[in-house]
Assembly symmetry: D3
């Protein structure tokens, strides 16, 4: 197997731990849009970055969510809330990233992120106990 396929294969493997059917469909759509870009996403983004073992998937999910909220990338946030759940973060931990970002990126970013997070939770059938965790 060439090394390109190897990075791509590793990327698909880690994505298998992060995605479910909804997300897999989103990724397939990118293959139709531009297979070069789709390859970069899978091979570099997932195959090279997410597979690195200095941090585990849950830690990488925290970093990713924080970056997305901070830069206001709310469309990508939808994908990664699901990925975070699959990585093993608890819903209350995902909520906590949004709250923590209020201090570091300002309340508007968190105020915009919150309903999106809750929307994904609802689609996934997740109910938060009380409403703090």
């Amino acid at each position: 197997m060439t090394q390109k396929d190897e990075r791509y294969k590793k990327g698909m493997e880690v994505l298998g731990k992060l995605t479910d059917e909804t997300n897999l469909n989103l990724l397939k759509r990118f293959n139709d849009i531009n297979s070069d870009f789709e390859d970069m996403m899978i091979s570099f983004g997932y195959g090279e970055i997410w597979t690195r073992d200095q941090l585990d998937l849950k830690q990488r999910a925290l970093i990713t969510l924080s970056s997305l909220i901070t830069q206001g990338a709310f469309d990508a946030l939808r994908f990664h809330v699901r990925a975070a759940l699959h990585a093993g973060l608890e819903p209350k931990e995902i909520v906590e990233v949004v709250i923590h970002c209020a201090a570091y990126a300002g309340f508007p970013k968190s105020v915009t992120a919150f309903p999106i997070v809750m929307e994904i939770f609802e689609e996934e059938g997740i109910k938060l106990e009380g409403n703090n965790e």
Copy 2:
């Protein structure tokens, strides 16, 4: 004790786990600049956010570093690399946040962050094994 002092006290407690003498001096400087602002930072930022128990200090450090790199807040990054070390993150884990952010915030942000992280490591007498961890 009033609740204000209580939040401030909790903030100072968690800061005690995150700061050393260098950082404590930085904070004292803010008390001279504007004690209201200094109070908000300690009471809200640390007393209300960092003490929440849904995530531990190491996880909060990952989120904070990611937000700072993503928004290009490199001055604040200096403070928080030290805080992250004190929170218990290993140097190689801090380096990993910078690398992960290259995919999510772009290479320029990470390229600017890296020398800053290494500079703080050097000041703290930290040597990375090989240079990957």
Copy 3:
């Protein structure tokens, strides 16, 4: 009354000057999402920041609108255009913030903000004279 309730109470008081029924419903929704976060917004954002007397509500509205347009926080902008009207800013003054930001944050941010501002004006039954004020 504990100090927590006191900050929250002050926050609700100033919000009473900034909100009407539409906005109040938006806030109630946050209490269902996460009451901790809702408390931080009301107690810190409004109870501690907006009540400070060094600047009045109209001045704070100018600062808030500018920050939101500059960072592209257009969802939060909807809330704050209404809040600005209630704070006492005239419609032509709100429009002026959008125009001023074109020079400081670039035309794309202002071009995106303008239709949103006009939409809120229309919902509030506001007609601008001529179309410059």
Copy 4:
């Protein structure tokens, strides 16, 4: 003719090379919103900047698309993908700006931009060969 009309006239001329009916309607809408702002956009943005001869329209389109993707100004991106096509950029070149920005602004910005670019292409009846160019 006064110089104001001259800058405006030059702006409308270059816009004639960048717009079609869809975009022209968008601009007309701004004249109803605020004619001062509309004048600034046309006279300064197009009349002073886009007409400068140190770079041609295709080069300016590359710069504009890159800035919009980087700052996440996706509404304005719609207008400028069309303008870029009219300026003479090939669809594959526009796609290339999105891919290039993944390295410089991070994958989330490009991942959000891509479907928007494809949407405009579809509305314009553009089919990309294979799907890389």
Copy 5:
């Protein structure tokens, strides 16, 4: 007088109310760098935006400071803290913009802005009473 000179002249007039010798030297430097850009700054930025009468100079200073802190444009902030003082804002009001932005743009932006504001105050021989105003 041509209209170009007229906008430029109006720009220089309002700058006369906003600048002192330090700032004037900064502007002269831009004329040597690129006179076209210098003309755009003076004629559009100051001649068209700052002279508009829907908001006064102090209000425009609030908007400008907020936008600069929010986007992290700390070099430009130095110029505009001085301009704000000349526009008539009191030091305590300028400090207040920094504090207000902590909630809307996050604490890191304000934490970086504060020492810069204090530095300009010191250069201008300004002493804040107590340290809250």
Copy 6:
């Protein structure tokens, strides 16, 4: 040769067209900091992105400069002004990117970028004719 070395080799080749001794030293420094990150920069950033043939080096330089100015990545801007010169952009064309960005990213970003660009020009012994080109 493995494919990893192949992407790295292609990256070094294109860098050879973009760098001179100053820049090459900057890159070597990254190999000492973290060879994994250095590999990603060279293999992905340059080996995969800059070598793509849908756009040439001068066009990619325009896109890169625009993204860096827009996001305020001024440290990386230094590297890329030099790279742009080596890619074949004329000094007046690089200046033009800064001017164009004033409309799209706001004047503060361009005002900060300009002296940096001029500084690199001076270090490279470049004199602009008149001062508009």
